[in-house]
Amino acid sequence: MNPTIDYHAILPELILSGTLVVVLVVDVFLRPPRKWLAMPLSFAGVLAAFVATLTLIGADRTTFGGSYHVDPFAVLFKVFFLSVAMIVLFLSLRYFREGRYYQGEYYFLLLSSVLGCVMMPSSRDLLMLFISLELVSAPAFLIAAFRKNDPRSNEAGLKFFLIGVLSSAVMLYGMSLIYGVTGSTNLYEIGKALAGHLGGQETLALAAILFVVTGFAFKVSAFPFQFWAPDTYEGAPVPVTAFLASASKAAGFTGLLQLMFVAFIHQAAFWGPVFAAFSIFTMSIGNLVALQQRQAVRLLAYSSIAQAGYMLLPFALAGHGVDKEAFAAAVTYILIYAIMNLGAFAVVVAVSRKSSALLIADFAGLMRNAPLLALAMTIFMVSLAGVPPTAGFWGKFFVFRAGIDAGGIGIALAVVMVVNSVISLFYYLAIPRQMILVEGPEEPMRSPALVTFVAALAAAAVIAVFVYPDLIAHFPPLSTLVGS
């Protein structure tokens, strides 16, 4: 057999692969002061991949014998990951240019990780999923440790690496068991096989699902597998943290969505409660620990753990007759979360030029020194807390609505999430409080134009999505992944 490859369907991936090779080669020929040119080069590649992805809108193509699928769900996430990549590139330029880093290698590794992200939503096969996930993680281990002279960055990379490898091993073991039970690695085939009679292997199948879920739980930093995240986020270069907290986390969720809602959907009665527990503990622990943080990146790290808890909630609703709604709620939340979180990190990148310790107290007086950044940061914090008039409100709204429509356990989960949202206000307000209400030293702050641009763009997006949530909420329900 000689399967034909649909080159149009994998065009974005091909462009990205080409770009990352070019970036690495060109870097060799650049003199040190010009090494930063790797960034515009990478950007051009990502932009080309972005345009290539846009040509795939509305497509429904499969290639590689059904293991690679380009459908509306995949295109939505590809567009999203490539947009995030562009923003992270913007944030990286000045940071890496000024800090004596290996720039060519950084952009090469970042693009490799992005390639993994872009492959993830199309992977409808256990092996493809595993490859994508490794491609996201392996370069990320390295760039997390890119601040070589700071022990905290080394710790960040090492912790991330050890945990990542461990979770991969557990997941791979689970996948092998799934293959043993169902005789297939294709997600749709697995779904069909698991719907049928398993001939005494039900328990084994459930155990295998648990293993796979555990692997992904590490990835998305769900409790009790969350402890690497704060150290890694704090130690890694801030643009890398921005990437990890938005794209890498979203990639984990993309894989999880496909596994849970396609392959394992018939076992929802079993894993639904597991996710309910994940969700409750993840959001509560994240929020409670975040309350005590004094360092901005650690605060955002714990906030991102808590937010992961909100994103896990819709999974717990699977099998309650609201699958499509829950699925759309999870996707919408992931997208909205990424916008506001990236914006917040953009402001942190700007502030990191002034104070590398990044204590929350260092934000004092920002309203006077950099009013635009302070205003944007306030919008992001209000949005992360889910208060109108910001996009975060709709993110929470869709999750609540799915929960309440599911009834029973769904309502209980929605109430837990509501209580958590209120708790989260305590610490989300801490940064605006410093910026606006506390007097700081008066020293006008210059932030790189690209970073300011990202912050302003994200703030505008957060408000625009509030005014018209269909800018984002329109797309997730179009995906045919669930209920088809």
Binding site: P371, V382, V387, P388, P389, F393, F397, F400, R401, I404, D405, G407, I411, A414, V415, V418, V419, S421, V422, L425, F426, L429, R433, I436, L437, V438, Y468, P469, D470, A473, H474, P477
Partner: protein, 502 residues
């Protein structure tokens, strides 16, 4: 003309100018805000003219689909309950802007917050779609937080955070309850909706209805505030800048009582009866507790803050008497309290700008030095006490009458609240203005022309409403009558779940 939309969004016109014109001179910033808010007031007069007093239902309704996929619509309308709250809002905001001469830091942001608040409050009063209401209801929190936190005094940050968290806590459950109603509506009507007049016809099992009532009730009780959820209020009021206190007292607290009438009573009539006694007792506790604590205060502003707890208790008591007089009195008192307490906070603010203290034992003997200020304070205090001929008298009388016909004991207890009110306000008046002339304050300026412009309209309104309350009652009564009837249908047969007409 789309009166309501114009009224709601007109203040927003000033916001981009204030936010994006970095170097705007302070007087221009004040001028822009004043112009935007006075124009809004003029437009709202047109709204008053367009209002048909004889119709009890919603008028001037405007409807547009906002987000189809969510079922969210932009649906606004006005009736006798909301009409005068809208008028009050459009009147109070420009007065507050006039009275904020002592604000010198970040004037442009202050003015932008004021205008954002005006839109949010107006939107909350006029929304007939639950989700739309919620969005406005929440949107007013952050500007208010900034107003207290940035321009307040003393422990302003603590007060601002406390305010924010208390109200967020309340409204979080409100959102869950609203979504629950939506979900039930999709079950019963085939498609989900947040529209108030449709959700009214939802049939709910009594136990569910009671839970929902409580979720709505907590959100609004925090705002009113009812004892024991009131503890944010004295802090917020005391630390807020003058304009912040005026807005809090006159407008924000009203979103709570307004919500009780508009949503709790109309959506959950059975549960409203079930909880009526409990709510009334909370209201009575508030009336008496608020009055007694007010008496003990040494800070004049805090004293007035506690008097709000007491006065708002009257409003809630009137609403939950389920009689027409009680309800009309409650609505009238919402407006009256806005005028009188708003005026008191304004005058205390002006006094503080001069003396830089609000401690009663440091004040005294000021009546001769600033006679206009003293005289205005006296009128406002007398109005707040409920002196016949001034505005509060009619409202309080109606509330007590309405309560008395429903439950004698409650009526009698409420009347003692009036007596206590007279004691603490007169005592405060005496300690502030009378006594031997105080050397420290010799040479203080009396009210300036701008300040008179801010104070005079409130005093005129007190007199007019006191002498001729019919102006309001004629427009309030048809609506309250209808609401009371709707609720009564359920009272006669508690098990009958069919609701009155929409």
């Amino acid at each position: 003309m789309p009166w309501l939309s114009v009224t709601i969004f007109l203040p927003l016109i000033g916001v981009p100018i204030l936010l994006f014109w970095r170097g705007i001179p302070d007087p221009v910033a004040r001028g822009v805000a004043l112009l935007a808010s006075t124009t809004t007031f003029v437009v709202s007069l047109g709204l008053l003219g367009a209002f048909d007093a004889s119709t009890p239902g919603y008028q001037l309704v405007e409807r547009a689909t906002w987000v189809r996929s969510i079922g969210l619509q932009y649906l606004v309308g006005v009736d006798g309950v909301s009409l005068f709250l809208v008028m009050l809002t459009t009147l109070i905001i420009p007065i507050g802007i006039l009275a904020s001469g002592s604000v010198t830091r970040n004037v442009r942001l202050f003015m932008a917050c004021s205008l954002l608040l005006e839109t949010a409050v107006l939107g909350a009063f006029l929304s007939l779609d639950l989700l739309l209401f919620f969005v406005f209801f929440e949107a007013l929190l952050f500007p208010m937080y900034l107003l207290i936190g940035m321009w307040g005094s003393g422990r302003r940050v603590y007060a601002a955070v406390k305010f924010f968290l208390f109200t967020m806590f309340g409204s979080a459950f409100l959102l869950v309850a609203i979504l629950f109603l939506f979900s039930r509506a999709s079950g019963q009507f085939g498609r989900g909706t947040f529209e108030l007049t449709k959700l009214q016809h939802l049939s709910l099992p009594p136990a569910t209805e009671r839970w929902l009532f409580l979720a709505f009730f907590i959100a609004f009780a925090v705002k009113v505030p009812l004892v024991p959820l009131h503890t944010w209020l004295p802090d917020a009021h005391t630390e807020a800048p003058t304009k912040g206190s005026i807005i809090l007292a006159a407008l924000l607290l009203k979103t709570g009582t307004y919500g009780l009438i508009r949503f709790n009573l109309v959506l959950f009539p059975e549960a409203s009866h079930y909880f009526a006694n409990a709510v009334s007792i909370l209201a009575l506790v508030g009336i008496i507790y608020g009055a007694i604590v007010a008496m003990m205060q040494s800070d004049l502003k805090r004293l007035i803050a506690y008097s709000s707890v007491s006065h708002l208790g009257f409003v809630v008591l009137g609403i939950f008497a389920f009689t027409q007089q009680g309800m009309s009195g409650g609505v009238l008192q919402m407006v009256n309290h806005g005028i009188s307490t708003g005026a008191l906070f304004l005058l205390v603010g002006l006094l503080y700008d001069r003396t830089h203290t609000r401690q009663l034992d440091e004040l005294g003997g000021l009546a001769d030095i600033t006679p206009l200020l003293a005289g205005s304070f006296m009128v406002a205090a007398l109005s707040s006490i409920g002196l016949p001929g001034l505005n509060n008298f009619v409202g309080e009388f109606l509330v007590i009458l309405g309560t008395f016909t429903a439950n004698r004991a409650f009526g009698v207890l409420a009347a003692t609240g009036v007596v206590l009110g007279a004691i603490y306000l007169l005592w405060a008046y005496q300690r502030t203005w009378h006594g031997p002339p105080n050397e420290r304050y010799r040479g203080l300026a009396d009210l300036s022309r701008v300040e008179i412009t801010a104070v005079a309209p409130l005093l005129v309104v007190m007199l007019v409403l006191g002498v001729y309350p019919k102006l309001l009652l004629d427009r309030i009564n048809p609506t309250t009558n209808k609401i009371v009837q709707q609720v009564q249908v359920v009272r006669h047969d508690q098990r009958l779940l069919a609701r009155g007409g929409g």
